[in-house]
């Protein structure tokens, strides 16, 4: 029964990935799905490092980028027939390079976790990003290198002309990578990574070298980051310096954190959220980065375990069948919160726009009229007051639903 339940999640995951383009098949949608697929693998690999191994990295894009660069070079080699293999193996090339880079860099960066590791990762990241602009023959300068995925031998008649074909290939790789990354968490090395994250000192007293454990996790994370880089190369057919610089490293940190560190599904949630924000929200507002920043800070402050953590918080109430008692208080706080959010965003947009008229939620506002500002501000204030009133109620309901019983013997699913 338990086995069936467990594999049901996996089958559902695969089915969801495969079914997505059935619902949305525009070029844009497929392009977003491809982005998501890449972000999921990259995010999971980052979570391996930070969530599982406790290593805060500001330079994880190095492995992603190197994998991607080598993958594009492999595409170029296929094009001139130096080598000849189907491009379905390209992510493996990326993974191999990511692993090699991690094998080398890990020898000196995994001595310590914490600040020292973070700083080394930052330094390496900056160094590589800078050298990628200097060593033009390999990295192609700021224009990057570009290849063509259609030159290899066709795979069962598929010549990879369409991004949709690449999506299905990506799904296969995402699924394989997710399975392996999940299985890794269930191995001795994976569990010891958790132990070293929690308490490196004690880990040494149960027979494990904290450094070696970190090294293994680090290499595994490098491998999967490289796989993600390889997928990137297949999807975009080019790669540039920006894919191994600090901005990319920062973004994966953001997405993993927003999704929820420490939960296996966290980075998947984060990857989906961030990709959607990046590709959809950015079309509606040029302030989307500002909103992303605010959202990130709020997540760090109020949802330290991210969105996945927020969902997991309800596990206990769910198991005990008390989730329904939370519904009404949630609505009572949620609706004014949403209203508050909408009105604050409205204020920001209204003060930012340089058009006289702003269409917002079907309404038209005049950005030069003080009245319109005041109107929205009143809505914001009103909803804020309403939140303040309903919040204690929610808190009480929450506590009632989560009262700690004498012993908690329910199995956790994580």
């Amino acid at each position: 029964m338990a086995i069936l339940k467990k594999s049901a999640v996996w089958i559902g995951y695969l089915a969801a990935l495969l079914a997505l383009p059935q619902f949305f098949d525009s070029v844009l949608a497929v392009s977003i799905f491809n982005q998501m697929a890449i972000a999921i693998v990259f995010g999971l690999s980052y979570n391996m490092l930070l969530g599982q191994g406790g290593m805060l990295s500001f330079g994880h894009a190095v492995y992603f980028g190197l994998g991607g660069f080598l993958a594009v070079h492999a595409l170029l080699m296929i094009e001139v027939e130096t080598v000849y293999f189907s491009i379905i193996w390209i992510p493996l090339v990326g993974g191999f390079i990511g692993l090699l880079a991690a094998l080398f860099i890990g020898t000196f960066s995994t001595h310590k976790a914490g600040t020292v590791f973070a700083m080394i990762s930052l330094g390496i990241g900056e160094l590589l990003a800078a050298s990628s602009l200097i060593f033009v023959s390999f990295f192609g300068g700021e224009a990057g290198v570009s290849g063509d995925r259609t030159f290899g031998p066709p795979f069962f008649g598929i010549e990879w002309f369409q991004n949709l074909e690449i999506y299905y290939l990506a799904v296969a790789w995402v699924f394989i990578a997710t399975v392996f990354m999940y299985l890794f968490t269930q191995t001795p090395a994976g569990k010891m990574a958790n132990a070293v994250r929690d308490n490196p000192e004690r880990a040494e007293f149960i027979g494990y070298s904290a450094r070696k454990v970190r090294y293994i996790t680090f290499c595994a994370a490098g491998l999967f980051a490289g796989v993600a880089g390889g997928l990137f190369a297949l999807n975009y057919e080019f790669i540039t310096e920006e894919n191994l610089n600090a901005a990319t490293s920062g973004r994966v940190l953001l997405s993993a954190y927003i999704g929820g560190l420490g939960y296996f599904i966290g980075p998947i949630v984060g990857a989906v959220i961030l990709t959607l924000m990046n590709s959809l929200l950015s079309n509606y507002s040029d302030l989307w980065m500002l909103y992303l920043g605010i959202m990130f800070l709020l997540t760090v402050m109020f949802l330290p375990r991210g969105f996945a953590g927020f969902i997991m918080m309800h596990q206990l109430a769910w198991v005990r069948g008390k989730i329904k008692s939370l519904l009404v208080p949630y609505l009572l706080t949620g609706i004014p919160s949403l209203l508050f959010l909408i009105s604050v965003v409205g204020l920001i947009e209204l003060s930012h726009t340089d058009e006289a008229e702003l269409y917002y939620f079907g309404l038209s506002f005049n950005s030069t009229a003080a009245m319109d500002f005041i109107l929205i501000a009143i809505v914001a204030l009103g909803s804020l007051l309403s939140i303040r009133r309903s919040l204690p109620q929610l808190r009480a309901a929450w506590e009632a639903a989560n009262e700690i019983p004498e012993s908690v013997d329910e199995e956790s699913t994580s």
Partner: protein, 417 residues
């Protein structure tokens, strides 16, 4: 599972919004792909306003084109990133847009060129044209030239050809110092100007040839110290953005009084930032003559633009040229198919608002036009930049023959229909 259904829901609603743009009289949709957020947003937004304004001014206010179709400009934000450009390109394709205006950054232009060529090869009948109004990497009309790419700016070698002519004619200049960002354009500027100067004035000494990483330099004073020590009479730089401002600022602050020859040292805040300090020191090589404007027509256009966008300037008249030439080609062929329009654009001759005749060379899809060298000043500037009172005053104009550079390595593959 619950979350994924939720996400699907959001998704659905978003995509519905996209696909519901159905108009009675279908507009001609042109995408404008440039940075609209981030560090280079001001340049991108300024360009967008110019394109939107030009479309309204010349066509939409007069009943549209092709018998009543409006021009709709679709802004796409590429955040100055090649990767993001690719995503936005797919969005354009997804919405059936077949013309993409793009100008900022040769890296982006090159990536877009590759992406468009691949797309056009794989999706016959849905081709897309790249309207390059500003990226100056020569390779785009040389080794990587493509039928689907047209350029309205003069490429770096053309500009340098004129610039070195100008410097060579100045007998006071005995040595020049070249400094630039360490990337392809910076290198092109350095290599080409050394080569051309040695041809034209072998006696000019290259006092220095320096590269610095893009956006990494905090303080340019150490570089300026070297320039001073070298005793150079002039500086040539291809820097743009904050690196341009910082460099010029450092040169001025350290009391070095020599001319600085630049490509991108005007408008979008730079003119205002340099202000009085840069007067008569900063010179720009550019197309489309600056103050005094030669025709009433152009003055009218700029005044109308300023009336609508008081905080922006017409920084890139070539955007207008590109739009007008494309529309001319559309009207000529009565088609919006990039293939037809492309054929019509080839070897088109067109008179700009300034009264110049420009020529879209069919061989490499490079516009040939007069080039000008202007100085940063507040004298004789009828149309200033950044509302600062300062602007560009044209000192030297190179006729079309002098700015032309022959085609060397373009072997264009033409699609067959």
């Amino acid at each position: 599972m619950r979350t994924s259904r939720f996400i699907r829901h959001i998704f659905l609603s978003f995509l519905l919004v996209f696909s519901s743009n159905i108009y009675a009289q279908e507009p001609v949709r042109l995408a404008f792909l440039d940075p609209l957020t981030g560090a280079f947003a001001s340049i991108g937004n300024s360009g967008l306003k110019q394109l939107e304004f030009a479309a309204d001014y010349f066509y939409n206010s007069k009943g549209g084109i092709l018998g009543g179709r409006m021009i709709e400009i679709v802004p796409l934000d590429n955040k100055q990133s090649p990767t993001e450009s690719q995503l936005q390109f797919r969005r354009a394709v997804s919405e059936g847009i077949q013309y993409i205006f793009q100008g900022n950054g040769s890296a982006v232009a090159n990536a877009l060129n590759d992406a468009i060529n691949r797309h056009n090869r794989r999706n016959p009948g849905q081709e897309v044209m790249q309207v390059n109004y500003s990226a100056v990497d020569p390779i785009l009309t040389e080794d990587n030239c493509s039928f689907w790419h047209f350029r309205w700016d003069a490429h770096a070698n053309m500009k340098l050809n004129v610039l070195t002519d100008y410097i060579a004619a100045d007998q006071d200049i005995e040595s020049v110092y070249i400094i630039g960002q360490d990337y392809s354009f910076g290198q092109v500027v350095s290599d080409t100007s050394i080569e051309l100067l040695q041809q034209k004035r072998p006696d000019i000494e290259i006092a220095g040839n320096e590269f610095h990483p893009i956006g990494q330099v905090k303080d340019f004073t150490p570089y300026v110290t070297k320039i001073v020590a070298s005793g150079a009479d002039a500086v040539i730089t291809g820097n743009y953005g904050a690196d341009m401002v910082s460099l010029a600022r450092s040169i001025i602050d350290n009391g070095l009084d020599i001319p600085i020859y630049t490509f991108y040292a005007a408008y979008d805040g730079i003119t205002a930032t340099l202000g009085e300090d840069g007067k008569n020191r900063i010179r720009l090589i550019h197309n489309e003559v600056s103050n005094p404007y030669p025709t009433e027509e152009r003055k009218e256009f700029v005044r109308a633009f300023k009336a609508a966008n008081p905080n922006n300037d017409v920084t890139q008249p070539r955007i207008t040229n590109a739009l007008r030439m494309i529309v001319t080609a559309m009207e000529e062929t009565q088609s919006t198919d990039p293939y037809d329009v492309g054929l019509a654009l080839e070897d088109m001759r067109f008179t700009t608002l300034s009264g110049d005749e420009i020529w879209m060379r069919g061989e490499d899809h490079q516009v040939i036009q007069t080039l000008h060298i202007s100085v940063h000043t507040d004298e004789g500037v009828e149309f200033d930049a950044d509302n600062s009172g300062f602007g560009l005053y044209t000192e030297f104009s190179a006729p079309i023959e002098d700015s032309m550079v022959p085609v060397n390595n373009c072997r264009m593959r033409r699609p067959s229909r």
